[in-house]
Structure formats: C-alpha cells, structure tokens
Amino acid sequence: MLNQRKRLWDAPPLKSHYDAVIIGGGLHGLATAYFLATRHDIRDIAVIEKRYIGYGGAGRNTAIVRANQRTQENVPLYKEALDLWPVLTRELDFNLMFYNCGNLNLAHSEAALKAMRLQTATAQFHGVDSQLVTPAECKALIPALDISDRPSYPILGGMFHPPGGIVRHDAVVWGLAKGASRKGVRIHQGVEVTGIGVQKGKVDSVETTLGRISTPRVLNAAGAYSAALANRLMGICLPISVLTIQAMVTQPLKPLLDHVISSGGYHIYANQTLKGEIATGAHMDRWPNYTTQTSAHYIKHQAEALTDLLPCMRGVKFMRTWAGLADMTPDMAPIMTGNDPVEGYYQDCGWGYFGFKSCTVAGKYMAQYMATGSCPDILLPFDQKRFEAHRLMGETAALVSYSADN
C-alpha cells in the first residue's frame, strides 16, 4: 500500500515514433494522455515536458475547484470536472485529497448580487448545487468574517456552492503521471519541442531537442506558453494575453476557514489547506508578461484586502509567495480545437486561471477529440473562430482588457 520503492512513473528513453505526442507535462497534457490510454486504447504516447512535470501552472495554482460558472456552455463542463475527482482518486489509486468544503463567494454591491443571482440560477438550472446566502449566513459559514459596516466594501450577501472545494494540485500531477505511466505513456522531462512537421496538410512529426519523432497527432497543451508555441511552430495567432498572477500562503494554523471564500470586490480568495496554511491570492498583474516575478505591491495589497474582510488574519504570518502565468482569452473561456489549420494538430489552451479546476474534463474530451478526430459536442463552443466573428462567450460580465491601453 505504501510502496516506497516503486517509481511513480518511469523514465524510459525517447522513441522515434509515437501514436500521439503531447506538448506539456502539466495537468491538461497528463490528463489527456491518461484518458487516451485508459478510454481510447491509444497508449503509445509521449508527453514532452521542457522542465519537469508540474513546473508551470499545475504547481502554482491554489487548487480551488468549483462548477458555478456563468454560462451554460461552461457550467456542464465544470460540473463534470468536479464529478471526476472521486473517480480519478479511485482509478489512480492515489489520494488527490479532494476536500469538498464548498465555496462561499461574497457580494459587496448591488451589481455583484445581480451577477450572483444569474450564476446561482444558472447553476440550479443545470442541477448544480448553489444558493444565495445572507450576510448572517455568510458569518455562520465563516465566523471570522466581518459582516459589519466597518469594511470598505461591506458584505451584502453571498453565494454558497457546496460541491466545490480544493484538491491537492501536486497530487493530481503525480497521480496522473503514475496512472498514465502504468498504461504505457512515456513521460520525457527536460525535453523541448522545437518544431512540428507537416506533410500535405497533416501533422507527421515533432522535432525535439532529443531528435525527431514521427507521429500523426500532436496536442499543444503547454499552458501559458502554448500561444507563443502555436505562433512559433504553426504560425497561428491566438487572441491570448499572458499575465502574471501571484498567490501566497500563511504559516499553518488549526482549522479557521471551513470553506473556500472569495470576493470579486476585494479581488481575493482564501482557503485553508488540509495542512492548515491559508492560501490566498486573486487578481493578475495588470500588464502582459511572461515572468513569474512577485511584486512588493501585491502582497501588501493582499494583506490589506484580506484583513478588511477577515480582521483576525492580522495576527497570522505570510511565509511564502509565488507567481504563475495565466493565459487569458478576451472572454475568459478556453480555446479547444483540433485539425485546424492542419489535420492532427490539437490545441487546448487559454484557460486563464481556470486551468486547474478544468483539467480532468478537458483531458477527457480532448482525448476523445484526438482519438476520434471529431469534436465532441461539449467542446464545440470553444472553437477559436468565435473571436474572428466577434462572438465572445460571456464567461465574464465585466469588460476585460489585457493590452497596453489597460
């Protein structure tokens, strides 16, 4: 049970042919490999990772999962993603530590309450448990909340979403790597993809720093780097801006927060991990960049916002802060496409800061897409062509702008 000697995943040499090559050893890449191998019997797969698995967003997010999105295109997808955590825990025989504690989202304005009504009713319409709660009910859920008039943005209400929670993000990386490896998927760390070969409109190979691999299909799942990669390797321009997003944790405490809390007004979320640390973060730096640098301003802002809502947090210490990258589309919904512009090229990116909670379901359907060659119905709305037609998806109500005019 506690086998301490067996490798979780193997490190075999790179072969010259694979049935599928996946660029990126993050959650989406590993999940797609896992579902290809377990559901579609395509096992001859290479996962090519430039650094080590879980280096990027997979290891930098704060692991919150939920299914109360805004639109009917997204809610069913995230609902299924949520339902997959227990399934994967069982299948992988690896405790992903899905802590189903529920998410409480706070409203500080009439506009936010209205947005929550839409989100809550949309969730309920799709059979996703979500309800509006009063400030007093918010306080009952999180006794540390200040529901008085003292905060700059007093709490007017909230939205409680019991099926959400947190998952141990590293465990998902390792669990999927283990599960995929057991089925024959080969994980190659420290290898970089440098080119994609196309013959007669079809993908036929992938160039790597360890040489050429012939393959009929390739998935670009390089997270924040995927748009740049798509441009460099395929000449595709995607409407994606990459921004730094920071997060931090406090020293461990005995149980204080029994649910994930978040607030759009304050731009914060906070959740207590099973280890007792309180992880918090939220908004992105305001300009596009590819650095994972933290900033002096951000941690200070976070402290100000957090303690306005949760005054007792003044007595706790931040012990670590870090940054990751979010690949933002104009409508905050992802891009999942295939066979465009060439057969055999697949793309799964633009998840912004939703990449963690969606990885299971994106892996499941991208695997189906790659195995069958035709787009599953649930992924149809996520075609990049929507941007050419100025048809944004509406996952966010507010205007977003990531360009220099921001």
Partner: protein
C-alpha cells in the same frame, strides 16, 4: 529537572545584552516567570529552566531550543494571542502571556506522543497513498487531518490592534546585515557622501562578533571591535540604522522590503519598510547547517551560536555539562568559552580531519578538553531531554557513548543567499567552501562578508569596505583608485575558509531530521528519490521538507547535499531549491498597516448624509443609493415624476478635449460622426472596443472652435484619457485632454417643476424656447456662480444637469435646495434614477450590457455612423460585421403576464429547454402601476408578445412568465423631457 536558574545568570559578562538590574515577568503556561530587559521570550524561558518548547507537527516529538534566530518552528508559541510567534525573535515584555502550541496535555506529557511510533506508516508522501480507500473513509480522515495539522490557534473573533507604521525611504545604498562586513560597507559608502540605510534583523548591530571575546582584531576582542564599529556607524549622520528589521523581499530596481518590530520606546509596534535604493549590499552572513544524525532533534541539542549566545548574550549557562559535535572553529571557540564559564565539556568531536585554528587547539588542550578529529555525533539518546550521545568516527567503525545534558551540534555554516537569488543572481556550488556561492550578480547588487565564505575579521572588514565602495560606484561616483586599493587589501587578507561538506553522520536507522517543521527526515528524501523524484525542488514538494513555517532556512542547504550524496552520479553538483519571499515569515498586520480607505467622496457627501442618504461604494466613489428606508425608493420616484428631484451626479467622467486635431480623436473613439456637432448642442455618443462591444456612453458638446466638453460613465472616467491616447498613438495629432472629473460636480434637477427651481436661482432666460432640450448653456447663478447647464432626459422628465466648479458645489446645492423647498423638492439616489430611466428604456452600461454586448445588441445602432469619412473608428470593422449577425443576445422590454405579480429579480435567467437570456433590470413602475423590465434574450425572442420563462434562483423549476413589449414603457414620444 527544573532548577531555579533565575538568580543564576552570569551578570558581569561584558557582552551581555540584558539589563541585569531590570527584571520583568511573563505569564507562561499559568506560571509567572522572571527575566530581564533585553531577554527574548526564548532566552527568558530557557533561563527559567524550560527545556521543551513545543511538540512537532507530525510525530509530536518534544522539541527544544535549537537556534536563536527563528529559523524553525521549535520555539513557536502563542504570545499575547498572536499564534505562531517565534519566541527566539520576540523580545520579552512585562506582562506578556505566552502559551505553547499544538499540545494536548502538557509539553512534557503529550498523549499524542505515540504518533512518533507510527512513523513507519508515514513515509514520504504517505497522505497520497492512505485514507482514500474506501472512499467513505476520506471525509472522516479529513476531519482528523485538519485537527492534527496546523500549529497555532487563531480565534475567529480575535483582533490584533497594534500600532502600525509604514516608511518608504529613498537611499543611495541599502546595506543588508549589520555585522562587521555590513557595517564596514555602510561606512565606506557613507564616507563618500552617500545616503545609506543599514538594515539588521537582530535588535542590535554586531552580527556574529557581538558575543565573541576570545578572537581578536587589532588587539581588541571582537565584541569590542564591532562595538566600536557600531558606535561609528551610529555616529555617522548619513547612515540610517534600522535594527530588528529583517529584510523580507527584494524586487527589481533594488527595491527592498523589510519589516521592523518596534520597542516600547518606538511609536510603532510593526513597521512596513520599502526602500528604493540605487545599490544594494548583501552582507547577510551565515546560519548554521544542522548536523544530520539519528534523533538530532532532541531537546538539549542546539547549534553553536545558540549555546554561545545563551552564555554570552543572555548570561545563561545552557547546561552543567556538554558534548560538542562540530565542524567549524566557531564550535571550538564556544567550547572553550563554555568551559571557562563553568560548563563541563566532555569532549569536542570535530568532523574535520584537519584545518583547525592551532590557537583554539592549544586552548582546548590547556583546559584538558579532548578534541577528536574526524568524529561526529551518530545517535542522540534520551526522549524528553537529552541523556547522552553516541559519537563515532566518520566511517562509523568506532563508537563511543557519552552521557551529557547538552549536545552542541553543527555541520558547518551555510550562507544566507536568499536576497541574492531574489534579486536575480545565480548561485553555484563551491567545493572549497561547500557553499552555494553567488556566481552571477545582478547589476547594482554587491555581496560581502561571510556570505562569500570569508571568516577572518580583517577579511570581513576589507571585503565590506570594498563592497561599500563598489556600491558607491554603482551610484555614479568615480572611485577606481579607492576600489583598487580596497581590492588589494582584500587580497592580502585571509581568503575563504574551507568548509565542511559533511552531509550526514554515518549509520542507518533512527530519524535524522532535515526539517524540524515538517518532521522530514533523510529517510523521507531517500523514499522520494526511489519513487522517481529526482529534482530537489520536487523532493521538497513531495516530502514537504522546507515548506513549513521556517521555509527553506534550515533544510535549504542540507536537502541538496543529501540528494547529491544519494544520487547515482556523485560528481554532479548539488542543486539549490527555490527561495521565495518573504525571506522571513511576516505578520500580515505589518503588510496591512492601519486601515486607510482610499474612497472618493463627492463635494456633496456630507449634505447627502444629512438628508438621510444611504451611501454605497460604487467603484472608487461613495454614492447615495436612496434616501430613507424604502428599498424601492417610491417617494423619490414619485417626487421626480410629479414634482421635482435633486441628484448628485458628480461622479460622471468630465473632460475637456481641445486642439486642432481634437475632432479627429473624437472621430476615432466615438462611433458617431463627430464632425457634425453643433456648438452648445448635446450629442449623445458611444464608444466601442475592437469587438464592437459598447464600453461607454455620454455626451459630447462643442464649446468653441476645436474645443469640446465630453462626459463619460462613472466607471470609465479613469480609463478615458488613456483610451484616447492609446488609440491615437501613431497619429501625432495635436490635441490635449484635461480630466475635469474631480474639478466639477454635477447636480441634476429633474421633474416637471425643474424649471421653476432653476428660474429661482438664475436671471437668465431659461424658457423652453431660450433653453431647449438637447442644448447646453453657460449660466450664472445668483449673478456670479458660473455653471454649465445641459438639458438632458435620462430620467424622462424636464431635467437640467448643472456642471459646477467643485468649490461652488455646496453653495449651489444649498441654493437649489432652498429654491425647491416650497415645492417640496426631493433628494433622489441611484435606485430611483435606475427605475426612472428604465421606464424610459434608457440603458446603463454594465447593467443592460455585458462584456460581449455590441452597440446593436442594446438598440443603440443609430449612434453609429456607417459612412464616417475616417474609416478607422475603434470597433467600426466589428460593427459592420456584427450589425445583422444572427444568434446574438438582444435587449428587449418586458411586462409580467400577471401585472399584479412582483418584478422578477435582476439577473434571473430566461429559459426554455436551455438558457435563453436573462433579466437585466426589472422594477415595479409607479407610472404604469405594474412591473416592467429589460432583458437580454436570444434574437429569436425579440418580437413583441413573445412569452419569456423566467427562472429565479430557488424556484425549483417553477417559471414565472413575462411578455416582450416595445420600449420605452413611459412617455414613448418623449414629450415630457421636451416640456
């Protein structure tokens, strides 16, 4: 084992940092304990005989005092309710209440102590492999894990009121570290006339020389030498010394953050410091590298500096007898001092075969202290308190067990390089020193002192001076000659000291802790490696080593050494793990500071409060949502419709744009044709983004030749100038913009009696003929207050919008109020305004639109001029593309099927088998005596009389029904606003 050591302090040592005459008392675990001013909580407790300071996180092992700079969680306690407070770095204050954490029972007898025997089921990453089978067990396990995990307890209702301060000094040179090298650097830079800030984490300057009496520099014992240096530093006017101020972050452009703990004499308890420096000198020195051997965590085992400082800084004999297992001359020096103050030193095991300072060796020999070269502690004995230690030679072939109360154990030193890495420098493993040494430094960052492997006082002083001069050169001074001289002095001084690379003591079995915080052992590292984790960074994550309250401080050097040692290819250099800020755990209160709400208030804030206004934050502003308790603001609405009302609309964005090319800029960002403005006529206009989505609406008024006054929505005011600039950035157009948002207030007088009110305050002819709808006039009120008045119709009644210089606002407001008094003028707020304009079918962007809504979607397509001469209107191409695009959400008006039912809640989806749209705003209309609303719906639902199913939250599938009706609901011909 408790002895009353209170009176036992060594009172006459010259190095003491306590005041033996000033006693204080703290409350610890229900007892009153006495100490002295200058004590930390940890030294006070140790001085009073406390030996177990905490229980460990996972195994609940007893833990004692190990270091004195807060590198691990051993000494974390609750102090005055602040959880996880490190007793080592917290000054003791009279009346403090201190309690241990994470303990069931007492520190001596913790019933959870049996966890230690379950270690075999807790290998590396065990939690990924346990508790999930069967699945129903997991929720129970979560409860247990949460209770067991975590250290300090925080009461949800706790408040932490402390005096907070924040300073943002600018300086030429920022020196981090107040030891000999840092002080020398500060002096060198200051002597060249530069401003210097010197930061020191401890409460006093002096670094590792502060407590040393044996070694000398220039004939002076080291403590005297650094004392003199400190006096010189403090006497130098252009050096600002900040003590008890650990650096926590380093950011681009030499921006340093730190926090400072105030003493009783300071005006603050916690101070946030953010320094903008031109050059940074890193002189952070070294900490000790823990010695890895079985049970190296027992209370009674401590590092050299800890034992040495307890003795010399706090006057406490750490024990009656001791064994040393060290690998550095500092250990020999401590052993000698310990012996001289009456501690029996059984022997000094030295992991080094050679290279010791001969003077130290002879001093040891003089005192009859055995010195065993190539020996090291292998196993510690005793459970709650150390009873003895088994020493062995480095190959483990010879062993000897010695009974002792205290084991001073250290594998050597490790430099504090966190600042260098955060600043963007690179480290490389150096085989001579055994350190990760700075290999590549970012610009304007200098390093000096022990961090470079130096040890000899003269080297530290020369190296510090050199770094100070280089930093001064970074600031632009030409000091080539001085630098060359300092380089020569440095080269003449002793170089870097050969360091111990000992990774682990020989022998297997037992728990050799790399990380006390997370109970992470050498075995855990090996288990992780066997499972395929080969990068130290991944091993750190899998084993949690270095992720606890002390972060990588203690295991940061040993983990890479152990990994390299255990790896198949022994010639590969150890790889350091990532360092992340804050370098020292920082109280959130220090970052948060005092509460300072940065909201904007209009000039009429106080007057509206007096009038009963319920203020609400709307973006950065406070605005009145309503006056009185009625959430529907009925009286305000009826007042405006039948009489006259008064609204503070000062938050509107207001701009002047002028210059020969101003009209071109307007053409670019507004979708309408801005060449067709008529002077002093209001033109309603909208801006779109590149997707044709409407982002702003407002009026544009030509007020002169090439001179325009424009208004924007409240939310867009902040971005407007940049939006203009960005979209005309390649055109070199000659125009200027002035943001007048805060310079002008806006008063809206609306209602059928509005003219009567305005007429009472102005002599101008404001008849409908002289001042018609959609026009603008500059008026004088009461003969001398200049206002710009516009006739607009947002709420659908006769209405004047007065734009008033902010300084006149209070006067004008009062004038209008007084003038309207006899008519019964009402104040109205956002709620009433929203209902009134909704009855007119007027949109509020963000309320009737969302991110993806185009101009055409909300029925404002008429604002777009398709045939504008300048083709490059922002959003023009998209508008052309989407004008008749099918499948979009469109704005419609609706009434409820049952006019007696209440209005549906804003935001409720409109559904059939799927979601077809949602309610934007719906309210009971007093004018129509039934609810009306606006909704965005699929474009096949826009025809009048289409039935809409409304799905409100909590409706359990029972829909409410509405019918699409034409808009506006009220006064469709618009006669009332033209009255």
């Amino acid at each position: 084992m408790k002895r009353n050591l209170l009176m036992n302090r060594l009172e006459h040592l010259p190095t003491l940092r306590i005041q033996p005459r000033q006693t204080l008392t703290i409350r610890y675990n229900g007892k009153n304990l006495r100490g002295y001013a200058g004590d930390t909580v940890a030294s006070l407790l140790y001085g009073c005989g406390e030996r177990i300071f905490s229980r460990s996180l996972k195994y609940r092992r007893p833990r004692g005092l190990y270091s004195l700079d807060g590198e691990c969680s051993n000494a974390m306690m609750s102090v005055d309710g602040w959880p996880n407070t490190n007793a080592e770095t917290t000054p003791a204050r009279h009346g403090m209440v201190v309690t241990p954490q994470n303990v069931v029972g007492s520190l001596e007898w913790d019933p959870m102590g049996w966890m230690d025997h379950l270690a075999f089921v807790m290998p590396a990453g065990f939690y990924y492999k346990l508790f999930h089978k069967p699945a129903r067990l997991w929720p129970l396990a979560i409860k247990g894990i949460r209770q067991a995990a975590g250290l300090g307890k925080l009461q949800p209702e706790a408040t932490f009121d402390c005096r907070c301060d924040a300073i943002y000094p600018n300086t030429d040179v920022c020196v981090v570290g107040g030891g000999p090298a840092g002080m020398s650097a500060a002096l060198a830079a200051a002597e060249n006339g530069l401003r210097v800030v010197l930061l020191e984490a401890r409460p006093h300057l002096g670094g590792f020389c502060d407590y040393r009496v044996r070694a000398e520099k220039g004939g002076m014992p080291l403590y005297q030498w650094v004392g003199a240096l400190a006096d010189e530093v403090r006497a130098t006017e252009n050096i600002r010394v900040l003590t008890h101020a650990p650096v926590v972050g380093v950011y681009p452009d030499q921006r340093i953050t730190a926090f400072q703990r105030g003493s009783a004499a300071d005006v603050f308890d916690l101070r946030y410091i953010e320094i903008a420096a031109t050059s940074v000198v890193v002189a952070t020195g070294c900490i000790e590298r823990p010695l890895l051997f079985a049970s190296n965590d027992r209370p009674g085992i401590m590092q050299i500096g800890c034992a040495h400082r307890l003795l010399h800084t706090y006057g406490i004999r750490p024990a009656a007898n001791a064994v040393f297992s060290v690998a550095h001359d500092l250990g020999l020096e401590a052993a000698i001092d310990m012996h001289d103050q009456g501690v029996t030193v059984h022997c000094v095991a030295d992991a080094r075969e050679d290279g010791q300072d001969p003077q130290m060796l002879s001093a040891l020999a003089q005192r009859g202290i055995p010195h065993w070269r190539g020996w090291v502690a292998q196993v510690a004995h005793g459970r709650r308190q150390l009873r003895g230690v088994t020493l062995s030679n480095l190959t483990g072939t010879f062993k000897k067990r010695i009974g002792c109360e205290l084991l001073v154990a250290s594998a050597g030193l490790t430099p504090l390089t966190g600042l260098v890495t955060l600043a963007g420098g690179a480290l490389a493993f150096d085989h001579h020193t055994g350190f990760f040494l700075p290999q590549r430094l970012p610009p304007a960052v200098q390093v000096c002192g022990r961090i470079r492997g130096l040890h000899d006082p003269s080297s530290l002083s020369a190296d510090g001076t050199l770094a100070g001069l280089r930093a001064a050169a970074d600031c632009g001074l030409n000091l080539n000659r001085e630098i060359a001289r300092a380089e020569a002095a440095g080269a003449a001084a002793p170089g870097a000291v050969r360091g111990s690379k000992l990774a682990m003591a020989p022998g297997k079995g037992g728990k050799a802790f790399l990380c006390f915080d997370e109970d992470g052992t050498v075995k855990h590292v090996q288990q992780a490696m066997a499972q395929g984790f080969d990068v130290p960074e991944l091993i750190k994550r899998f084993t949690s080593i270095g992720t606890g309250p002390g972060q990588g401080g203690m295991p940061g050097h040993n983990l890479p050494l152990v990994v390299a040692h255990s790896q198949a290819s022994p010639d590969s250099d150890p790889q350091p793990t990532t360092i992340r800020p804050p370098l020292v755990a920082t109280p959130i209160a220090a970052y948060a500071g005092g509460k300072h709400d940065m909201a904007k208030r209009t000039p009429m804030h106080a007057e509206q409060l007096t009038a009963g206004g319920r203020m609400e934050r709307v973006g950065e502003w406070y605005r009145a949502r309503r006056f009185g308790a009625d959430p529907g603001a009925q009286d305000e609405i009826i007042g405006v419709r039948t009489n006259v009302g008064l609204l503070d609309a000062s938050t509107l964005g207001k701009f002047r744009i002028f210059g020969p090319d101003a009209v071109k800029a307007l053409q670019r960002v507004y979708v309408g044709d801005m060449t067709r403005t008529v002077p002093f006529r209001t033109k309603y206009a909208a801006m779109c983004n590149e997707d044709g989505c409407v982002i702003d609406d407002g009026v544009v008024i030509q007020t002169g030749e090439n001179d325009y006054y424009i208004t924007t929505s409240t939310g867009r005011a902040g971005q407007t100038v940049e939006w203009f600039r960005y979209h005309t950035r390649y055109d070199s157009w000659d125009y200027h913009m002035v943001n007048l948002t805060d310079a002008f207030g806006v008063i809206n007088i609306a209602g059928p009696n509005a003219r009567q009110v305005l007429a009472a305050v102005t002599d101008a002819d404001i008849s409908n003929e002289a001042f018609a709808f959609s026009t603008c006039r500059d008026l004088l009120l009461r003969g001398d207050v200049p206002v710009r008045a516009m006739r607009l119709g947002f709420v659908g009644e006769l209405s004047y919008e007065l734009h008033v210089p902010a300084s006149y606002m209070a006067a004008v407001w009062q004038m209008v109020e007084t003038a309207g008094q006899s008519l019964g003028i009402v104040h109205f707020g956002l709620e009433a305004q929203s209902t009134l304009r909704m009855e007119k079918g007027h949109v509020i962007l963000g309320s009737e639109s969302e991110q993806r809504t185009t101009l055409h979607d909300i029925g404002l397509g008429f604002l777009w001029c398709r045939t504008k001469p300048e083709a490059k209107t922002v959003g023009g191409a998209a508008l052309r593309h989407t004008a008749d695009q099918p499948g979009r959400l469109k704005l419609v008006g609706f009434k409820m099927e049952d006019p007696r039912s209440r209005a549906p809640r804003d935001g409720s989806p409109i559904v059939d088998a799927r979601i077809r749209g949602y309610v934007c705003t719906a309210r009971f209309s007093h004018a129509l005596q039934e609810p009306v609303g606006m909704a965005l719906v699929d474009d096949d639902l826009v025809r009048p009389n289409t039935r809409l199913g409304i799905y409100e939250d909590g409706c359990n599938g029972t829909l409410r029904h509405a019918m699409v009706v034409p808009m506006p609901f009220y006064d469709p011909k618009g006669l009332r606003m033209r009255m």
